[in-house]
Symmetry: C3
Subunit: 119 residues, 3 copies
């Protein structure tokens, strides 16, 4: 068994979720479950997808395979200040964790050896 | 002579090819031929450009300068399952290599010290 | 105090500036001024934003917080060869520095430990 891969997927637009979720599915299929440490950081308007049940279903299945989904608190708050759907942290499914600033998570993870992918 | 640069360009949309090919041209012009190890990983709908003769001409010239072009097998197969042009691996020009999963190549290359650029 | 973070933001489309500037603002707010070394490399059509006074105002404020703004000379020249606004290097505000090729800066910075973010 080789060294475990570490990768962070950065999703900041709603339209990129399908590509991102497809990439993650392909990655797990290719390297095998447990062979890659996968983080998905959602910031900006992309956090709106956390209210979309069909996408949540795919995310939940990937979370069960070990992928970690992280939502940016700044972005959740910004949504609620506008006319968009307002998603409170409490309304998120338990497999989605909230980080204070998605951008810091993205930078810090790379300094800890995570590869970066922008779908 | 400094340490050789290593860089992977990730192209996942057809519309990004011109930017990507321009970036690679500028990089080689700037650092000098042979001073950068360059990989281009195409996944998603971007693989359709491998049937576009005017773009293939530019790619071929860059390949002659040392750039390595890699097509994602998952993405080639997906194209063939739809109404799009179907590109078989055999129909690709010899300078384009096929990898089982583009996404794995992207992650693994970064763990081997390649910089990541998303044009 | 932890290890200082290093990050490069790559902006190659005019429409991405607002996201990029928001990300940088959030990053500085989150980690604290001086805790992150921030470079912003603008190449491609994105350099046109260097003639937009309202965006320049935000950039200038972020530069005062330590962010370094770098414009690609190739891209500035290309603008001037077209029908677009032509921005000479001399016309840029002093806080914007020019690099010969933005793409080289992006690759080299990553080899020096900078994280990469594509807003």
């Amino acid at each position: 068994m080789g060294k475990q891969l570490k990768v962070l997927f950065h999703v900041n637009e709603v339209e990129k979720w399908d590509t991102a979720l497809g990439n993650i599915t392909n990655l797990i299929k290719d390297v095998g479950r447990g062979e890659a440490e996968i983080k998905v950081v959602a910031n900006g308007p992309s956090v709106a997808a956390f209210s979309d049940s069909s996408r949540l279903e795919v995310m939940s299945a990937l979370a069960a395979e070990g992928a970690v989904f992280l939502a940016c608190r700044n972005s959740l708050k910004k949504m609620c200040s506008g006319v968009d759907v307002c998603l409170t942290e409490e309304s998120l499914p338990p497999f989605i964790k909230v980080v204070p600033a998605g951008i810091t998570e993205i930078v810090r993870s790379q300094s800890e050896g995570f590869a970066y992918v922008k779908p």
